[in-house]
Symmetry: C2
Subunit: 358 residues, 2 copies
C-alpha cells in the first residue's frame, strides 16, 4: 500500500517549450492557446490542445508569477481605536501578516474608520474601492452599508474576508472570528459556575445608535440567555445601558441601577468594555460581585488582577487578522481557496491565575 501521487509517468514536468516542439509550433502560439487569446488557427489550436490533454501540461506557477511580477495591494478595513481598546489587539497580527505576505508582492493598506460614525465608514469604503485592491479584509460593523460595500466588491471580482463579525450572506472567501453564540453560552456558564441557584443576573450593555449597526453581541446575548433560561429558569435577567462616549455618566448610572436591584450578584458584559465597570466594582468590594467580560484589553486584565473581574473570555484578534491575510494571499497569488470558510478561534478563559501566561 505504497504509491506515488503523480499526474504523469515521466518524472520531468512538461513545459511550454516541449509542447512547442511536439506540435511544431512556437512558444508564442502555445501561449496564445493556453490563454485563449485570438489569432490562432483552428488546426494549431487543436494540435496544442491534444498534446496538453495527452501529456497533462500544467503551468509552472513560479515562472508565471515571476513573469507577471505584479505588486498587489490588500486593503484592511478596520475600526480606529484609542489606546487600550479592542482593535488595538489586532495590530500585531496586521504587522505579522503584512510581513508574511510581503514576499509574495502583496502590500497591506490599513484603512481606518470610526465604528460609531457611518459617514467615516462610507469614506473609508470609497477609499478602498478607489485603490482597486486585489483583496479586502474587513470587520463589518455597519450591517447594511457593509452589505452594499461587499456587493460592490463582488461586482468587481474582489475577494473579501470577514474578521470578528460576518454578514450572513454568501460571497465571502472566509471568516475568522469567535463562535459568538457559544461565547455567550460559555459566558453564562462561567458566570454561574458552582452556583446551585441564581435568581438575578445583570448585563451591562451599550446603547447602539440607529444606523443599522451590525452588533455581534446580539448572538452572544442569545447564547447567554439560552444558558441561563435552561439552567436557571426562574432567573431574572436585567439590563443596564451605558454609553462609552460619555464615561462621566457611567458611575452614576451603575450606582442607581444596582441600588435599585440589590440582590444582583452576577454581572456580565457582552463586549470588550468591562473595564468601564471596574471603577464601580472597586467601590463595592463588600458586595462580592461575580463578573465576566470579554477580551484581554490591558484595562480588563487590570480588573482581573485587582479581583473585581472574575473571568474574561478572550479571543486572539491578532491571530485572526494574521490568518485572514494569509488566506487572502493564498487565494490571490496561488488561487488556493481556504480549507474552511468559517474559521473559529478558540475561546480562552482568563482568570487572575492564568492571565499572565496568556
Amino acid at each position: 500500500m505504497s504509491y506515488i501521487f503523480s499526474t504523469m509517468d515521466s518524472n520531468q514536468r512538461i513545459t511550454i517549450k516541449d509542447i512547442a516542439r511536439l506540435t511544431g509550433l512556437s512558444k508564442g502560439t502555445v501561449d496564445r492557446v493556453l490563454h485563449n487569446r485570438e489569432g490562432v488557427s483552428k488546426k494549431s489550436y487543436a494540435k496544442v490542445m491534444k498534446v496538453i490533454q495527452d501529456l497533462g501540461y500544467e503551468p509552472n506557477l513560479f515562472a508565471s508569477l515571476l513573469a507577471h511580477n505584479k505588486k498587489r495591494t490588500v486593503a484592511v478595513l478596520l475600526p480606529n481605536y484609542n489606546a487600550g481598546e479592542f482593535w488595538e489587539l489586532a495590530e500585531a497580527g496586521l504587522r505579522k501578516g503584512a510581513e508574511a505576505v510581503h514576499a509574495f508582492g502583496i502590500e497591506i493598506h490599513r484603512i481606518g474608520y470610526d465604528q460609531y460614525n457611518l459617514d467615516s465608514f462610507h469614506k473609508a469604503a470609497e477609499e478602498v474601492l478607489a485603490m482597486n485592491p486585489s483583496g479586502v479584509v474587513l470587520a463589518p460593523m455597519f450591517k447594511d452599508d457593509s452589505f452594499i460595500f461587499v456587493r460592490r466588491l463582488h461586482e468587481k471580482g474582489i475577494p473579501y474576508v470577514y474578521i470578528d463579525t460576518k454578514l450572513e450572506c454568501g460571497g465571502y472567501l472566509a471568516y475568522f472570528g469567535m463562535p459568538l453564540y457559544q461565547s455567550g453560552y460559555l459566558c453564562a456558564a462561567i458566570l454561574t459556575d458552582a452556583h446551585k441557584d441564581v435568581q438575578e443576573v445583570a448585563v451591562v450593555r451599550v446603547q447602539r445608535d440607529k444606523h443599522g449597526q451590525s452588533d455581534p453581541t446580539i448572538y452572544r446575548r442569545e447564547g447567554f440567555i439560552d444558558y441561563i433560561s435552561k439552567h436557571f429558569p426562574s432567573c431574572k435577567m436585567r439590563s443596564v445601558f451605558i454609553d462609552p462616549k460619555k464615561p462621566e455618566e457611567i458611575d452614576g448610572i451603575l450606582e442607581e441601577f444596582f441600588n435599585l436591584h440589590p440582590d444582583v450578584r452576577h454581572i456580565a458584559m457582552y463586549n470588550s468594555r468591562i473595564y468601564l465597570v471596574t471603577p464601580f466594582l472597586e467601590r463595592h468590594p463588600e458586595r462580592n460581585y461575580r463578573v465576566v467580560g470579554f477580551d484581554n484589553l490591558a484595562a480588563n486584565l487590570a480588573g482581573l488582577k485587582n479581583g473585581t473581574v472574575t473571568a474574561l473570555i478572550a479571543q486572539r484578534p491578532d491571530e485572526q487578522i494574521h490568518n485572514a491575510i494569509g488566506t487572502l494571499s493564498d487565494y490571490i497569488v496561488f488561487g488556493k481557496a481556504p480549507a474552511k470558510r468559517d474559521n473559529f478561534v478558540s475561546m480562552d478563559i482568563l482568570t487572575r491565575y492564568n492571565e499572565e501566561y496568556y
Copy 2:
C-alpha cells in the same frame, strides 16, 4: 488611522541587479554574498552588505524558486488498512493534498505499514529515509521506534508533521489531530447524558501486543475516567478485551462478559472499531444499551442507522492529512512556519439524526 505596510519608501522593490549597479560589482558577486559562499573579498562583501542594509533588499521568492526548479518529495507514512477501516478515511485528504501541492513541485509518496507489525514499520521507515524526502507526514503508532525514526529525520534536517497521534517530544513542525483527552471526556459525557445515576459502565478494549505501541486511546481513557469519577463517583468501570484479528471470537467473549455483568447499560469504545460490537448488540435489542464509539466508518454509521449505536464522535482524518501536507509544503517551499504547532480538529458528534449530513 490609515497606513501602508512597506519596508521601503520607493514602491519598487530592489533587485540583485540594483545592488550590483550600486556597488559597481556584478550579479554573481552579489549572489555569492547573499548566500555566504566563498570567494568574496572583505571589501566587496562589506559594500554589498551596506547596500542590502540601507535599501532593505529581500529576494524575490518566485525567481529563486524558478531558478532552483527543484522537484521535491514528501513521504507520508501511514498504516495500511482494509476496506472500511479508519485509515481509509484519510485517503481522500491525501489525494487532495497531493493535488494542492503539486503546483509547487512537490510529489507525495505514500508509504504504508502494518500497524500491528513492528517489522513492517521498520521497513517502511527505512524506505522513507532512503528516499531522502524534503518532509515527512507520519502517524507514530509505534512509540519507541517512531521516536528513533524522527530523531534520524531531525539529524538529517527533515521536517516532519504528526497526524492523529503525536509523541510528546519537541522537534516536530506541527501536529494535526483530535484533542484526545477531551474526546474521552466528551465520550463519557455523551454516554451518561440525561442519566441521573450510572452504577456501571463497560468499555470494550483492544489488547495491544508488547512492542511499545503508541496507543492514542490511553489519553481518551484518562478523559473518560476523569469524567465518570467526577460525575458518578460510585460508578464501576469494567473492561472487556477483544482482538480485531480474531473476529470469530468476539461474539463469544462479549456474550460471556455481559452475562456476567447484567446491570451494565452503558458501553463505550476508545477506538474506531465499535462496529465489531454491533453484531452482539443487534442480538440484544431488549437490553437497550447506550453505546458511544469513535469515527465515521461506514460500518459504524450502519450501527447508528440501525439503532445499536447511540452516538459516534468523529474527527476528519482527511482534513487532517490535507492540512498536514499543506503546512509541510508551506514550510519546505516558502520557509513559512505554521501559525500553530498543535492543531486540533473539531470533535463532531454524530447520531442517527445528523449522520447523513456529515
